[in-house]
Subunit: 239 residues, 8 copies
């Protein structure tokens, strides 16, 4: 369930880092697949999460912690006060453990677009993560399809930055990635967001609509901003 | 399950028309609610459907028959050959039994728009039904959201006809009614169509997306072209 | 995701109003599509929502805020105490920011009907919104189909007001719009409500039943009182 | 999966009748629970079904066969031609193997009501089964809720027969049992039918609506006309 | 949504009792359909519920209040302290407003059976309601199918009471009503309960299993103890 | 997707057998995991399936072919006529390619039980497969829970064979494995079968009920007779 | 719903232990089916649960209590303080009431494997339960399929312990049991865990994936660690 | 619904090509978004599809036709016999209309991997399409996760080709893309295939598992081989 990474020369050192009996970090992941260690908070006990973070810090690894719960966030802040090199990003939706991430990317631009204001906090997660990886982002938020002129103007501005990939965040009817993909030349990845009520709410309609898109887009799961950002980043991974 | 109608001066004659023990037609429906008799074919036995049509013809009622199955279509054609005043419309997706429908409408225009070519046969059902009711239609087909310029040009052309209501047919991601509703001043009714494969296919994603629309549209069920046309027509019913 | 509107003579002034980097209001929406700015509260952070409201107020726009969460409601009340022209409607389920809404309607009556007492708070949202738009409403609440005489009497009373459209709110089995549509001449829009427990509860059975209605009704999503009211209002929009 | 029955004095003879290695009929079921042997056709191989019917005939049991497939129907007709005492009922939707059913009922009336014409073939299954059991039925078909006067007149006629239980068949929005239960004094059992297309079609909306009914009805599964008739019959079983 | 009843000689007095603009009680329901007024708490605002109870008390009606929320329960207790004739039943899962219920039943026994201990609180709701209606109950709780001897012994004890109908409560795999129906002569109504976790939990598997039962049982919705009890009671209603 | 196996001394010979570019058989599977090669027919083109079978035969492997479609069955019969050592089992629901399967089991008994006659063809698949593997089976078919005495007698007979594991096949409400697991000492694996109509039909209710069982059973997917038999067989695999 | 057990010589003493009117414990279960009494906490009232525990203690039975809620946990701790022989296991996710469990097992090893750290608390429930039954466990946690080398090393270590059955815990995509079953010779039971967000989250995707496994595994319900452990234990039950 | 493209110098000629009233091809799509015209067959009438193909041919456009139905395939073959430059690809699952596609790509390699033999026909669609676009493919088929060594060997072979993106096709449990993404450095797109029976069959489990993947993959809809190939190709589009 956890992601793991570390800069290492191939083959050197033990390939895993055992933490208690409950975690086994994959030290070679960054070098092997070009994606840093991202520890998913949600679902782990606070004790397990803090144990993992301490273990990584002790071993000198850098990492990111995604989707922390309220209790985990408090525990991570306590660890930071105790001197662990932890920073809160994107209003506490992401944490960064300082240290090498074991990945290297060529320069490039990722465009982030949201349909509404409600999708912005998720886009900020992607923005923060891509920033930590040294990639540049170009953003246009609240440019949904009910007012096309907003979108068309935003597209002109973004295209000037020459992004190599677009992440399009949308909840409710999830039409943005489809409309966007009819306007731009770079691949578009749809990120459905858990916005909306009633039938198809919580991102279900958006996900289904993106899967049914008449444009050739790919998608990630509902609210999966971090996986989307990693998928985008992998494009820039140096071999 | 069946709809029934007949022109009658209010209160005159028996309010229902019994056909065998299996059908009871509501003779006052047209005058009461402004919607003609439409008999749904699908789901009925061929014997029941032809019995109803014969009964209506004998009583001098006009009616429409929607969604006939292949077997029902053949049976209706045989009835026509035997002299019943039955006409096939929209490539046999609708049949018209000649005779008074018991409804009266003021003049008006309904705009019909489809996202793709696959939605056209359903739109033709609505087109034919509205034509039988004496209403005018303005159409723009295959103007989906992956190529916005097509849609924007179509909207300009349709708006010149000053439609009072739009029916927007779309399958797959079902984005057309939402985008359209951001461009026009008349109410938009979304008609999801059973187009698309995989998850959310057969109109499920389109329906969910239309229910989640960030524009104030109303919807009908998947492939419900005839109910949508009747809902639109009711707006023009004379009191 | 947000709706936006503003009175403007066509083409005058910048077409959007940017608020921070997270919101871009569509200033021409009211004039273009005949629907006022309604900002959906639920799903936005409190900071984003109050930022949008302040931005609209500063720019002299009027608007409505729908489905505020408890925390948003408290924040809106604080803004009102600080002098922003904000009023709570329908027991705080809707807020009105004073100022021009950019829309104009001809006079007309919308009928609102509920199946039960539990549906009344939602109907009150529609009632309040239509009132702010200057439209008249005729209401009959708790007239569900388990006691037909209640409904039949209510219909006689409402028809005397000559409504041009009906909004019928029902949870549980959602039969009201179907029965109502067999009794009245104006179009009926079903609004399923999240009432009921067990299978099909939270409005799911009501929505499905309305989509399957043997009468030609249109529907909106579960609890979508505000979109239903806007759809009804659009009928009266002056061109 | 099969139902089984046979007249026997309590405790006498072997309690089961083995047929090949694939069927074991419960000879005491009729006497024990007041319900006759009904063999469900659908799902069995033709060889198994005909084996069971031959075995029952050889042992002198009577039985009913429900939901035969097209191939099973042909096989049963061949058995009848070979002299087995088999009769087709309800247009071949039910077969009767002559012989004692092992059940005894006091006299009584069951009312059968359908919303539409499409529901009639299912109601005929119940009608035929109840007839074989010696119970009386009162019927009113195609009296759905879109034309209330039809239903109200039908109820008056049926109530004059003093039925002790109602079976109400409805597809699509499934509102009939709810409305009916607000009008009559006997218990109402809803039988959803697989009528309708799009979302909630094939009886799904009808079933959900009946489960959500605001009237105290009970329900059976979609198209379960025979189980509904047996449930009704059990009320009249002599102890 | 609400149920309503009152003892009245047929035709006497106004047929409905309006309470504010939000409730309209059906005064003739008890006499018409043989079921008392049961007001569903859940889903109503506290103000609406207490308004209805006060209105009924003022008009001299008796009633039951089902599924009160925690806040409603507190409000009902306050009303009782203020002198309204309200009693809490079944650990506060049901309340009784004293006064005539407008229904009359012949004597009879209803058997209540639960599969587990977790189903007992729901069975107690039915027990209390049937007691208020003057019917007798015979109970056997925690006699699920994983230990058949428990069930077989319980059945012998219950059958000695000669119940005319069984209500069988079961969550999880919901097998109890099916097994029970193979053992007893009276009709069995399954009441799925929201017991169980994981897939099919919250009563979904139990409901589906009961609908699929190979025995001829009828079912009500998940946790619908009160509708089940009313359905059972109706059997004993005097005409 | 395919399973693959072959007798080999560990490490000897190439670990995979490539057939065209479309199949790569895992030659060490039998020795490694104690399960023979079973090629799933359904889903493959006829050309691919016959190619795989020819390839296996040419390489001297034995195998089983499960769930062949009608067209595949015909093609396999043609291969047999051409001299390939192929035998049809269980009425053509399974085929055996003669040759070593690469597995070895200690002696033991598997008990197979079905709720109804409709489940027997699936149980026969398991019976045939276990027979090919040299394991013994004890069977009791059509002993469902609506007649407990049948089941109790069958259990006594089966227990005398001292089975080490039970496979319990049931469709519809799927109660058999739960009731059985309360009676026997060996582990019970539930095999839901696609028997039943309406909601929860096609095995969905049976699967959910087995997952919710209040007895500690394990389950396989709907109609997964072959995987269930392999799971049972693995218990007897020699190390 | 509850499980029940007790050591007894066959046939001796009353077969059930009644506690109030709400629980009836099956005293012979352990001896009959080889599984101890495990009382499911969740779903029971606190009063019922403590009543059952007191009743068992008074009768001298041992038992386990699974899935206690927070309130039940507090109540059980109070009972322990009052002197009942209750111990908390697995961080309070399981409680042990001291006393004979009525079961006896031959020695053996069960392997427990988890895909991630989030699955560990569930695996600990199984670990604790198997320990109470006197069985040995071999564990490897956080060895999911995104880093195969971790899994391959863990398998070598576990196989050295010669486990007779594997329980593989995995949430999210649930691939672990499938991959594991391709590597080991003992049967694998998949335990999907409620880990993951968005579509397929809360264990739904993991369960579906395990049911669809191309390896012959069996599964239990989401989070059903205790049923999985009992299923595994039954393999070692002495007859 | 249809995709459309054509080589054109920017701004030259009319932007759409109208065919009858039912199709409007987007002539600038290829140049604008780097994706050729692909006409989806399935869902269109034969007359509409052949009309579109003739129209494109007449206008000198090249195109691809995907997912033709059996009837459409026959019609396309007749058109080819009449001289239209149409070629069948991938066993008739794709057709190529000769002529310029309006797109240009830099050289590059796409890796195609399937879990089983059943997934191969879909992978062949992608193979054929990428070939028509001038891109190179590296393939490894039937390398699913139940035999890891097959996959690990395949990965080594593919990596030597230095693919920039992987398309991983898998049905049933859909684990392949997740395991693959833990082994390779290029981004992985999962393509769930409609392989498998029972719950989660027809690709539903595979899709859910891919969305839940603990590796950062993106996905397309079930069987969406062509959209996946277009998404991959877009990466190589020249600006």
């Amino acid at each position: 369930m956890t992601g793991h990474s570390r800069r290492r020369t191939r083959g050197r050192s033990a390939p895993e880092l055992a933490i208690g009996t409950y975690a086994r970090l994959d030290r070679g992941r960054g070098a092997r697949i070009g994606v840093p260690e991202v520890v998913l908070g949600e679902g782990k006990t606070v004790a397990h999460l803090t144990g993992i973070v301490r273990g990584l810090a002790r071993a000198g690894h850098g990492a990111l912690i995604s989707r922390p719960t309220e209790a985990q966030r408090a525990a991570l802040r306590r660890l930071a006060q105790q001197g662990l090199p932890l920073r809160s990003l994107a209003d506490g939706r992401l944490f960064r453990l300082e240290g090498p991430l074991g990945v290297a990317y060529r320069p490039g631009v990722v465009a982030l677009v949201t349909a509404g204001t409600s999708d912005v906090p998720l886009a900020r997660e992607a923005e923060a993560l891509l920033g930590e990886l040294g990639l540049r982002v170009a953003t246009a938020y609240d440019v949904g399809v009910a007012g096309l002129h907003r979108l068309q103007r935003a597209v002109r501005r973004l295209e000037a930055r020459r992004p190599e990939i677009y992440l399009a965040f949308a909840g409710r009817e999830g039409a943005l990635p489809t409309v966007l993909a009819g306007l731009v030349r770079a691949p578009v990845v749809g990120v459905p967001t858990a916005v909306g009520y009633g039938r198809g709410g919580r991102g279900e309609a958006a996900l289904a609509a993106m899967l049914q898109s008449c444009a050739p887009i790919a998608v990630v799961n509902i609210d999966a901003a971090v996986p989307a950002a990693l998928f985008a980043a992998q494009r820039f991974a140096r071999r």
